[in-house]
C-alpha cells in the first residue's frame, strides 16, 4: 500500500540529474529545462496527494517503507527508510505544493539568466533533500536531508557567482548551519548511546525512539536529565537551520540569492526544518520542561528582536527576511509551549503567505530591474525608497501582496489569524506557557502588522519615487509569475480554515478543528502523558482573540498614519531618535559583535596557522632538508674534479686496498 513512498523524493533527484548533466550541452532550451524541473516536483506533488488521501482514509496512521539497508555495523542498523504519518504527509503537501508553484514562477523569473539549467538542477536537488528530511524514518536519513538542504541553500545563495557579496553570504550561511548541525549530531549520539547502553534499545528510528523515550526519564547527564541535554543539542541544530537567536544572522544575508530561492528555501520550507524536527521528536521535547521553556523563550526573543530590525530596513527582501525570522520565532514559541499542532499549522500558513510575499517582492524587483535597465539607470531595484505607487502599475502583484500582508498580520479569517491566534492562546493558557512569553509574542504581533504594512505602503502606495526615466517602463509581470501569486494568495486566504479553533467552530455551528484531529496521532500521546494542554474559559479565549485582532489593527493603523497620512512623520521620528534609528538600521550591530567575538579570533587563529605554523615550521622543515642536501652536495662536488687521472688513482687505490684485504685475510 505504502511501498512506493520512495517515488516522492526520486522524481526531483531525477530532474536534478537530467538538468545538471544534460542541461548545458544538450537540452539548452529554457522551456524544456523549466518543464523538466517543474514537472519533477509536480509529479512528486501528485504522488504526495495520492498518499495523503490514502492516509486520510486509513485507520493506521503511521507507515514505514524500507527501501534498502544502508549501514549495518554491530548494534547500529540504519535503513534507507521512509515514514508517512500525518506530520510528514502535511509537510509533503507544503513542500511539493509550494515547491511546484515556485518552480513554475522561476521559469518566468529566471528567464534569460546565465546558468538557467544550473538553477533548476540545484532547486530540484533542494526539493529532493527536503523530502528526504521530511520523509526519513530515522534520524540519519533526516540528517542526510538536513545537510542536503544546507548544501543547496549554499549553492543557491551563491548562485550569482560573479558577485562577491553572494559568495560571502553563501559561506556565512553554510558555516552557521554547520554550527547548528554539530548540535544535531551530538543530540543524536546522546539519544542513541543512552537508549542503547542503558536500556538495550539500539535504535535511531523515530518511531522506536518515541516508543522507548520514557525509559530515559530517570537518566542523568552533566547534572541534568539526558533528555534535557539531548533536546537542547537538537534545539541548537534547530536554531542554526531555522535562523533563531543566536544563529539567525545568516538568513537576512541569504537574500543575495534569486528571489524564488528566498521564497522556497528561506521562507517556506528549509528554515522550517527546525520546527518540523521538534515536531518529529515531540515525545523527547515534551519530557523536558526546561528545554521547552528555552525553546519558547528563544522563540519569543527572536520574534521581537527580528521584528525591531524589520522596522528600519529599506531593502524589500530584507524586511521579509527579518519578518521570516520573526515568524519562525512564533513557531518556536508554539513548540515551546506544547502547542505542536499550532506550530505546524503556523508553519503551513506561513509557507503560503510568506512564499506569496517573497514572490510578490520578486515580481516587483523583476519589473523594477527591467525598467531601470531599460532606462540605463544604476538605482537599486530592491530599495523601497525607489518604489512607491506601484499599485496601479502592477495590480495583481499588489492584490496578492496585500492579501498576504493581511494574513501575516493576523486579520480575522485570513490564514495567519487562525494559526497565530492559536499560538498566542496556547502561550497564554498552556500548562507550559507563561504570561511573559505571551506578552512578548503579542508585542511582536503588533510589530509584525506595523512593518508589513510599512513595506506594503512604501512599495505600492504614495507617490512614485522611481526615477522618472524608468517610471513608464514598469509593467505587470507575465502570467508565469502572477499565476503562482494568485494561487498562493488564495491559499493564504483560505488555508486557515482547516484549523478553526474549537470556540469559534462551536459558535459557527460545530465546525471541527480538522488539522488538530489529523495531527493528533503524532502529538496527542506526548501531550496527554505530560499533561500539556491549554485550559481556560471560552470567554477568555474570545477575549484574547479580540485583543490580538485589536493589536494587529493598531499596528496597521500606526503604519497608515506614518506612511500614508503623514509621510513626513518617519523622517521626523528618525531625526529625533537618530542614534536608536542608526542602531536598528545597522541590525543592532550583531554582525559586528560576532565579527569581533568569533570571526576575527578564528581568522587570527587561521592566520597564525598559516604564517606561524605552515610557513615557518612546515615549510621551514621542507626547505631546510633541501638546503641541507644542497650544501652537502656543494661540498662533495669538489671530489668530482673532472680530471680522469684522479678517478684512475682512486680506482687503483681501491684495488690495492681490496687486494690487501684479500691477502691479509
Amino acid at each position: 500500500m505504502y511501498d512506493k513512498l520512495w517515488l516522492i523524493p526520486f522524481f526531483p533527484l531525477l530532474g536534478c540529474i537530467i538538468n545538471g548533466l544534460l542541461g548545458k550541452r544538450f537540452i539548452k532550451n529554457e522551456k524544456v529545462i523549466g518543464a523538466i524541473g517543474t514537472g519533477a516536483v509536480f509529479l512528486s506533488f501528485l504522488v504526495s496527494c495520492k498518499y495523503f488521501i490514502q492516509l486520510l482514509g486509513d485507520t493506521v496512521k503511521s507507515h514505514e517503507n524500507i527501501v534498502a539497508s544502508w549501514i549495518s555495523v554491530g548494534n547500529l542498523q540504519v535503513d534507507w527508510g521512509f515514514l508517512l504519518d500525518p506530520l510528514s504527509a502535511l509537510m509533503l503537501m507544503v513542500v511539493c505544493g509550494v515547491g511546484s508553484l515556485i518552480h513554475l514562477y522561476s521559469i518566468g523569473y529566471m528567464h534569460g539568466e546565465e546558468g538557467f539549467y544550473r538553477y533548476f538542477s540545484y532547486l530540484n536537488l533542494f526539493v529532493f533533500s527536503m523530502l528526504m528530511l521530511v520523509l526519513g524514518n530515522n534520524a540519519l536519513v533526516m540528517f542526510v536531508g538536513w545537510e542536503g538542504v544546507g548544501l543547496c541553500s549554499y549553492l543557491l545563495i551563491g548562485y550569482y557567482i560573479e558577485k562577491q557579496s553572494a559568495g560571502d553570504a553563501a559561506k556565512k550561511a553554510f558555516v552557521m548551519n554547520r554550527v547548528g548541525d554539530f548540535g544535531f549530531l551530538l543530540g543524536l549520539f546522546i539519544i542513541f548511546w543512552t537508549l542503547g547502553s542503558k536500556h538495550g534499545v539500539w535504535t535511531i528510528n523515530f518511531v522506536e525512539i518515541s516508543e522507548n523515550a520514557h525509559l530515559m526519564s530517570g537518566d542523568m547527564m552533566l547534572g541534568a536529565g539526558v533528555t534535557t541535554v539531548a533536546t537542547l543539542c537538537f534545539f541548537l541544530g534547530a536554531t542554526g537551520k531555522s535562523a533563531q537567536l543566536p544563529l539567525y544572522t545568516w538568513l537576512p544575508d541569504a537574500m543575495e540569492g534569486p528571489t524564488p530561492v528566498s521564497a522556497l528555501i528561506h521562507a517556506a520550507t528549509m528554515v522550517t526544518a527546525g520546527v518540523y524536527m521538534i515536531g518529529r521528536m515531540n515525545v523527547l521535547f515534551a519530557m523536558s520542561p526546561t528545554t521547552m521553556f528555552v525553546v519558547a523563550m528563544v522563540g519569543a526573543l527572536t520574534a521581537i528582536f527580528a521584528a525591531t530590525i524589520g522596522f528600519a530596513q529599506n531593502d524589500i527582501k530584507r524586511v521579509l527576511a527579518y519578518s521570516t525570522v520573526s515568524q519562525l520565532g512564533f513557531m518556536f514559541i508554539a513548540m515551546g509551549v506544547g502547542a505542536f499542532t499550532a506550530g505546524i499549522f503556523h508553519l503551513m500558513t506561513h509557507a503560503f503567505f510568506k512564499a506569496c510575499l517573497f514572490l510578490g517582492s520578486g515580481s516587483v524587483i523583476h519589473a523594477m530591474h527591467h525598467a531601470l535597465h531599460h532606462a540605463h539607470l544604476d538605482d537599486d531595484a530592491q530599495d523601497m525608497r525607489n518604489m512607491g505607487g506601484l499599485r496601479k502599475k502592477m495590480p495583481v502583484t499588489w492584490a496578492t501582496f496585500g492579501i498576504s500582508c493581511l494574513a501575516i498580520s493576523g486579520l480575522p479569517f485570513f490564514s495567519g489569524f487562525f494559526s497565530k491566534d492559536e499560538i498566542l492562546w496556547w502561550a497564554f493558557a498552556s500548562t507550559r506557557g507563561s504570561m511573559l512569553v505571551w506578552g512578548i509574542a503579542v508585542i511582536a504581533a503588533f510589530m509584525t502588522a506595523f512593518y508589513m504594512f510599512r513595506c506594503l505602503y512604501m512599495t505600492f502606495y504614495g507617490e512614485q519615487r522611481t526615477n522618472p526615466k524608468a517610471k513608464d517602463h514598469i509593467h505587470e509581470s507575465p502570467w508565469l509569475i502572477t499565476l503562482p501569486l494568485v494561487v498562493l494568495a488564495f491559499l493564504a486566504t483560505v488555508g486557515g480554515l482547516i484549523g478553526i479553533p474549537h470556540v469559534l467552530g462551536n459558535l459557527l455551528g460545530h465546525i471541527p478543528n480538522k488539522l488538530e484531529h489529523f495531527l493528533a496521532p503524532v502529538f496527542e500521546h506526548s501531550q496527554n502523558l505530560h499533561q500539556i494542554e491549554a485550559h481556560g474559559s471560552a470567554a477568555t479565549e474570545f477575549g484574547l482573540m479580540g485583543f490580538s485582532v485589536v493589536v494587529a489593527l493598531a499596528g496597521i493603523a500606526l503604519a497608515t498614519i506614518m506612511y500614508i497620512r503623514n509621510p513626513e512623520l518617519p523622517g521626523r521620528f528618525t531625526a529625533k531618535f537618530s542614534q536608536l534609528h542608526r542602531a536598528v538600521f545597522n541590525k543592532w550591530y550583531v554582525d559586528e559583535a560576532y565579527d569581533a567575538l568569533f570571526v576575527n579570533s578564528t581568522k587570527n587563529l587561521g592566520i597564525f596557522c598559516w604564517k606561524g605554523f605552515d610557513v615557518k615550521v612546515v615549510d621551514g622543515i621542507v626547505n631546510g632538508v633541501a638546503k641541507l642536501v644542497g650544501a652537502l652536495a656543494a661540498t662533495l662536488r669538489h671530489t668530482q674534479t673532472g680530471l680522469f687521472q684522479n678517478y684512475a688513482l682512486t680506482m687503483v687505490l681501491g684495488t690495492v686496498v681490496m687486494v690487501a684485504i684479500f691477502i691479509l685475510n
Binding site: R637, G642, L643, F644, Q645, A648, L649, V652
Partner: protein, 100 residues
C-alpha cells in the same frame, strides 16, 4: 735458473710502471702506451703461469688480450687524431668539455 717467480716479478714491475705512467702523465699517447705496457705485463703473467701450470688456457687468453689491444689501439689512435684536429692538443687536461 730462471723460475716463474722471476717472470712474475718482471710482470709486476712492468705493471707498476704502466700504472704510474697512466696516473702521472698528461700526454694521451704516453698514457696510451702505458696502458699497453700494463696489458703486456698481464700477458707475461699469463704465459709464465701457463708454462708453470702446464695448461694452454693462459696462452689462449693472451691471444684474446692481444686482439682487444689491437682493436683498442686502432680506436684509441683514431680518437686522438680527431681530438688533435679539434683542439691542437692531445693533453688529457684539455679533455674537459663535459665538466660543469
Amino acid at each position: 735458473m730462471i723460475s716463474v717467480y722471476h717472470y712474475m716479478s718482471v710482470a709486476a714491475i712492468l705493471f707498476a710502471m704502466g700504472t704510474y705512467g697512466v696516473l702521472t702523465r698528461r700526454n694521451a699517447i704516453v698514457i696510451f702506451m702505458c696502458i699497453e705496457l700494463m696489458l703486456n705485463s698481464v700477458n707475461l703473467t699469463f704465459i709464465a703461469l701457463s708454462r708453470h701450470l702446464q695448461s694452454m688456457d693462459g696462452q689462449i687468453f693472451v691471444f684474446f688480450v692481444m686482439t682487444v689491444a689491437a682493436a683498442e689501439a686502432a680506436v684509441g689512435l683514431a680518437l686522438m687524431i680527431t681530438f688533435y684536429r679539434n683542439r691542437e692538443s692531445i693533453d688529457v687536461d684539455d679533455m674537459n668539455l663535459l665538466k660543469l
